[in-house]
């Protein structure tokens, strides 16, 4: 179980790093229409053509899979460890709701990832569904895919609302990952807890607000 928990922590930390890069790229969408389209498309083309990014992408897929599979195995084992639950349990008096419901939050994020991959990854990388055109520079017009998706208010709401479970999951997950990996410096952990909160808020608000801004663009 220690090995599995460490893998969950390490893959989680890697995914946290990935989100920083992802949000930085998404912030291009906030620029004025023409600049945003050009930058966003050339950025995504560069990524797709880079062999290093190809390796990183496989590490990313693997991280997501390992994070899910080991979390599932750990959860099943934890359920076996508590075969009977309490009739009355006031757990909110001794712990946060988030820390008690990481699995539920994880499932919500997984639901988001499935839809998100279907919207972008499947269309652009796998060529499924409606074809994607080229922009004036001959780059695949990923901007258009994004822009047209977020003209649909239901997608905007879905993308925004599901950033709440992401933020909560990140907040508890990030600070706990350090403890799982054996970081036990008291003051250091206090700083990590604060940084985790700041990080989680930036990610949730950042990812959550961009679809709205694109919608009203």
């Amino acid at each position: 179980m220690f090995f599995r928990k460490s893998i969950i922590a390490l893959t989680g930390l890697f995914l946290c790093l990935f989100l920083i890069v992802h949000l930085s790229a998404n912030s291009i969408l906030l620029l004025p229409e023409e600049t945003a389209r050009e930058l966003y498309n050339s950025y995504s083309t560069t990524l797709r053509e880079s062999p290093i990014i190809k390796i990183v992408a496989y590490v990313l897929y693997l991280s997501i899979l390992l994070h899910i599979v080991y979390a599932l195995l750990i959860t099943l084992n934890n359920r076996r460890a508590k075969s009977k639950r309490y009739t009355l349990n006031q757990y909110r008096e001794n712990s946060s709701w988030t820390s008690q419901n990481m699995g539920l939050l994880g499932i919500m994020i997984l639901l988001f990832i499935v839809v998100h991959l279907a919207n972008f990854w499947a269309r652009i990388k796998l060529g499924m569904g409606e074809g994607v055109g080229l922009d004036a520079n001959g780059h695949v017009d990923v901007y258009e895919v994004t822009y047209s998706l977020f003209q649909n208010i239901y997608y905007v709401l879905f993308y925004t609302l599901l950033m709440a479970p992401l933020g909560l999951h990140l907040y508890h997950g990030l600070k706990s990952a350090f403890m799982t990996l054996g970081f036990y410096h008291k003051k250091g952990l206090r700083i990590i807890a604060k940084l985790s909160l700041i990080y989680a808020v930036i990610m949730a608000v950042g990812f959550g607000i961009i679809p709205f801004i694109v919608f009203f663009k």
Partner: protein, 247 residues
């Protein structure tokens, strides 16, 4: 004062068990919770009914024997307290008090509110001791221990093994208990010789006993009568990784 106890009754490990409600009058708020249960048991004896089984020893908050889940909290509504230190003044007149045994697969119910905590003993047997020659007590200053180290070891050694950490944990993890036992001895010079073996074997036994994993909800620290910090768990993780990969 008058309260309704809703108490888990179960004849043995094999039987199913269920709640039974008892209205108890003429209690005072100065009574301890266990005294209220004693009083209820006397009423049951007078009525020729089976008494409620529950554990206690010192009733001073130091032995770790008492321990039941009261109104949704391990050891009752207060933080850092044993069941024996809980008084009826913590409840309102006319209140219903739900009392359940610790719930964990590794702590099977023996009878009513009594659970078998042998799993803790099995973990202790794997290394919560030092191998030393017995005989006359050695000179106290033969091995120097710094104040900070002594304090840290003592904070971990404060664990009374009541099982509240396992009881309150959503995963029934024994991480706080095991970490306290490991860090207590591994911090001290006397424990260094067997440090790696201790952490590896005790954590291995912890898993074999069927306890779950730690997910750092922090509930154990709040319910622990001694307030043992969950940082101990992070430290145990570090010690285990070091023993496993570098020793």
């Amino acid at each position: 004062m008058k309260v309704t106890f809703k108490i888990w009754r179960q004849d043995n490990a094999a039987s199913k068990g269920d709640f039974v409600s008892y209205e108890v009058d003429r209690l005072t708020e100065d009574m301890s919770f266990l005294e209220a249960l004693d009083y209820l048991n006397e009423l049951l004896v007078a009525r020729n009914e089976k008494v409620i089984a529950y554990e206690y020893d010192c009733r001073e908050g130091i032995c770790g024997q008492c321990g039941v889940f009261i109104n949704g909290r391990a050891h009752g509504p207060h933080d850092h307290m044993t069941t024996c230190q809980l008084h009826m003044r913590s409840f309102a007149d006319g209140q219903t008090i739900v009392v359940e045994p610790w719930r964990a697969t590794a702590f099977p119910v023996i009878k009513d509110l009594v659970v078998d905590r042998s799993a803790f003993d099995n973990i202790i047997e794997q290394g919560a001791y030092i191998s030393a020659k017995t005989g006359t007590a050695p000179e106290a200053n033969a091995i120097l221990v710094g104040k900070e180290v002594a304090d840290k070891a003592m904070d971990a050694a404060a664990c009374i093994g009541c099982g509240a950490c396992v009881a309150t944990c959503k995963n029934s993890s024994a991480a706080l208990f095991t970490a306290a036992k490991i860090n207590h001895l591994n911090s001290l010079p006397q424990g260094k010789q067997e440090a790696s073996k201790r952490v590896l074997e005790m954590t291995r036994q912890m898993e074999l006993e069927g306890f779950g994993s730690c997910t750092f909800t922090g509930a154990c620290e709040v319910e622990c009568p001694e307030g043992i910090s969950i940082l101990n768990i992070a430290e145990m993780n570090a010690r285990r990784a070091k023993a496993k990969w570098f020793d």
